[in-house]
Amino acid sequence: MTAPLPFATAPAPHVVAPSSVGRVMRQVLYALVPTVALHVVFFGPGLLIQIVLGVVTALAAEAAALRLRGKPLPPFLLDGSAIITAVLLALCLPPLAPWWLVVSGVAFAILLAKHLFGGLGANPFNPAMVGYAVLLVSFPARLLQWLPPNVAGFEPAALSFGETLTTIFTGMPPARFTWDAITSPTPLDALRTDLALGMTMGEAHANALFSAFGGRGWEWINLATLAGGGWLLALRIIRWQIPVAMLTALFVCASIMSAADPGEYAGPLFHLTSGASLLGAFFIATDPVSAATSGRGKLIYGAGIGVLTYVIRTWGGYPDGVAFAVLIMNLAVPLIDRYTIPRIYGHAR
């Protein structure tokens, strides 16, 4: 017969699905496009500038960290994970926030919350939320200077694109405005202040910031987030357990408390559609690296985030509790994982 032919060998399996980390991350970015678009519609182009600043910082920080750690730049630099961190953090910041806010937050997130722990796949905490928490604790006033929504009944100070740019880069509003004239609290922030002043829920809701069930402008943005989240669920990029558990827990807590005392506590629909509830449920809490592992674990993790979000919003010191709720539950993940190992085939219960 013929002489033995040398064939290259490889271990089984010899076929794998053509998926990649980059593809997963890209799908998440596409799913965020509706949210970003509606945000710009209601609050102006500031967000886009923040995103650009954030992405540039993220890539620079990632490249520097990879170099320091002796890792190759491709494929890590463009796998999309740093870009997602930057976009999520930018979405949490006011559109007119000074440039150094997003830059320092993203740098902190990438360098300290991600690479210091081992880079992609090794971070125990959600990097975007770590960055946001640092900014919130360090510069609380800056983070409350949001804009009024671009809806009927409001007179948003119509800043041109150029003026937005200068505001962000100089940290000062254009000469003809003061900060008070152009900024406005978020619905959650306004609610908190008004309740502290002794108003009832009904009186607080009379504020023009509120619509029938949510904050005006915000309800549309949250709807867009819901659509993006549904897209990710359909593609099986994320699983249903965390969003459903988180939103259900939030809904239940809000329902119970607002049924007990409607004057003091906001209703469930308001909680679900305001702040970062939906963004958190579908894009932040579902970060696979820092979330629980098994299905049951994800339910507990998601429910914990929902409950903690409600607790912090209602009785804690900050208007929105999603960031801290996520970070606290990240702490609990090893314990959750330890006790929710699924029963292996052939093992006793």
Binding site: F7, H14, I344, Y345
Partner: protein, 484 residues
Amino acid sequence: MAKPGVRGGLRLDAHKERSTAQALRAASPAKTLVLPLDQHAGAPAVPLIKPGERVLCGQPIAEPGGTVSAWLHSPASGTIAAIEPRPAPHRLGAPSLSIVVANDGRDERHAESARAAFDQLSPEQLRELIARGGIVGLGGAVFPTAAKLNSALRVQDLRLLINGAECEPYISCDDMLMRERARDIVFGARVLLHALTAQSCVVAIEDDTPQAAAALEAAIADAHDGRIQLRRVASIYPAGGERQLITAIFDVEVPSGALPADVNTVCLNVGTAAAVAHWIRDAQPLTSRIVTVTGDGVLEQRNLDVPLGTPLAALIYDCGGYTSRMSRLIMGGSMMGQSLPHDDMPVIKATNCIIAASALDLQPRAAEMPCIRCGNCSEVCPAVLLPQQLHWYAAARDLDALEMYGLADCIECGCCDYVCPSQIPLAECFRDMKPALNERLAARSSADAARARFEARTARLERIESEQLAALAKKRQELTKKSS
């Protein structure tokens, strides 16, 4: 009610249309046949002949080398050219002691003594007779069938499961066997039912093989044997894995570390059943098997009835030779098959499929990235493991954690590999860690045995001492009684 199926798993492209388009044919006879003595599970067989001797087709040439071992028969008439180490496919090309038969092409048969019909024999005689046919599991595990039957002796209400669920892509030898030789399978099932004194038999097939199903149904009907029925399972890989199939059909789990016999089941491949039929009914021992030759790297894709020992090179030549796109030679399927370094190796009892793969068939991995804990792997694992955790602890060589997370229960199906976005070679990682884990488990069980012997000895010595003291006390009592 949902069709029974495996938990997790994957729907994969079957790639079986080309190789099942034509009917079975016999492979062209090869000039030299190489038969490794260790081509079955258990102890290697021991040669009965010497170089230079003449052998006939079907003549026993090696006998079992231990309790779990198998007979080996000559697939052709001719002369024993040598008994020497030859590259073996189950050793990925490393040499294994083999009997080399020079085929004289005359196909003279070894005469078998006349024997009674199988239902005239006692189950024990039948099992012994099955052993002499060199029958081993033809699904790939090549476990000696007689040993498997004997291990289920003391089980009550035994049920037989004939596994025709050929789930792995590219392999279609069982499908062809079921289409063309369904009667042999049913006859074999009846022989096995008698050998096991079992009362029920299920033949399981996947739901995407209508021709095989029709042929089997006709054969079962013709046999007029109410004990045998046909059941379909969802064609999800790996539905044909022994444990997964038993759970899908009988709704019981085989406990970890236990055998199917512990849940009253004996599972055998359709090919094994047919081989039993050929031996018991036609006095034809296991000297050939159906092999699928497929892949874009070979000209003609089909199934052939191949004598054991046929060199793979000759088999490919018989199918028109390699195409210019040939890249990788795989024995087995695309998910669990082993990649061979060259084709100067023989067809053995375990060779169910040869894939001459080209770039069209293969999906190479991209660069490996760190695990992002997406959970795709744990979703598809048929053994309900957490591959992401196993990978994490394998990197740390943490044997305690690997044991707790069930590495020993991994069936190496490759589903986790398939869906990993970070392209991590998970199945290979687990295959690498299993020997270390097994070593530690073996050390632990031998320590347990030593503890048991030590405690038995301590108890024995204490018993002897207390008996002596009691005898002494009794004697003292008697003496005091006497003197008083």
